[in-house]
Point group: C2
């Protein structure tokens, strides 16, 4: 599902040059439940952003579901993301002026799914993340962990084939993390939805089937359990 070859990303600006990703070769197959780990600053978020096309690599090839991302224009990348990928960003990126329900259903509206089905799926996913009854609250009214759970719900509700999750449990207590990860693992086994986590959470490393360790923008180890 994901195939990258010699991907590199260098940030340039203000007279400095940061080699965030320095040559990564990687293949992720459909249905994997994989964690990318590594020290702060080792390139995890940058790498995830190149896989989704949110950021363009300085060099290298990226194939997602058989499509070469470097040949796609902005609109094609955007459509591809909308229909294939669910995102959980490291900062939750919820829209503060939309309600919880509107934040979650947004992607389904873009996909043309009708209102009654959207309402049903929002209600179902809120149950999964234990926020039943929160439909009409706004992000500024939520605790850190509650916002994070809304972000998780939003990523999953459109049934994408790939979930890219950057620190999905950073602000959650272990009971909530456990519940959330077990739900994701269950979906992974039932629907073959691919999960790629970027994380420091030992709980995710423990539950993942494969753990890839980054160090200074390169792969240091790649362990299948």
């Amino acid at each position: 599902i994901i195939k990258v070859k010699n991907v590199r990303k260098t940030y340039r600006g203000n007279g400095i040059e940061v080699k965030a990703v320095r040559g990564i070769d990687l293949t992720i197959k459909s249905g994997e439940f994989t964690a990318i780990v590594g020290p702060s600053g080792s390139g995890k978020t940058t790498f995830l952003n190149t896989i989704s096309g949110l950021d363009s690599p300085t060099d290298g090839d990226i194939m997602l579901n058989g499509k070469d991302l470097r040949k796609m224009n902005g609109k094609e990348l955007s459509d591809m993301r909308r229909d294939n990928i669910g995102f959980i960003f490291q900062s939750y990126n919820l829209i503060p002026v939309l309600t919880v329900e509107e934040n979650i259903e947004y992607i389904m509206m873009l996909q043309g799914i009708k209102a009654s089905e959207r309402k049903e799926r929002v209600s179902q996913i809120l149950k999964e993340v234990e926020l039943t009854g929160f439909e009409n609250r706004f992000p500024p009214q939520l605790s850190g962990g509650q916002q994070q759970r809304v972000a998780v719900a939003r990523a999953m509700v459109s049934n994408p084939t790939l979930i890219l999750a950057d620190e999905p449990t950073a602000n959650l207590d272990s009971k909530t993390s456990n519940g959330l990860l077990d739900m994701m693992k269950r979906l992974n086994k039932e629907t073959n939805m691919t999960f790629l986590f970027s994380t420091h959470d030992p709980l995710i490393m423990e539950k993942a089937d494969r753990v890839i360790t980054l160090k200074d923008g390169k792969i240091e180890s790649d362990e299948v359990k």
Copy 2:
């Protein structure tokens, strides 16, 4: 140093009423290294915000360093915070258009500390959080964990008597978390700086001398080790 009695906070708006804090009595002494823990939504951030005067309680008394917060106006609260409290917010709240150095030295400028001393202290604190050389970068150029470490540096550099830290390690790997917490604990023992953490991190719970557990806006247990 902190004495609260029957503190309550109810959020009202949009036809809903959320009783975030439902009656907390608590005394924190100078020099404590204490963690407030509890499930997501249990009131930890709300409680911290009432202690610092960033939010006003719906009811109850709050004494900070002998001063009654409810008798202070906006300017007095602001001056009190500037001179006494260092904040680490759950979302890092760095100013994106200021450099790392400017973000950290901001409070010292308000306190009238001269430029050469500010430069020296910024350099020293950046060493402590392992970000030497990052003076002229901007927050959007930093990884999640790097932004968090700048927020920690900013909270500590003005030598406050009290540090309120909301999830200071949420985006950090365990090696960085360990280093950071050991530094804080060392400062705590050397200078009697009081630390009050709100967290889900088992590492902080382990290193704290006292662990207060919240549940549904009230104290469920209070354990001194």
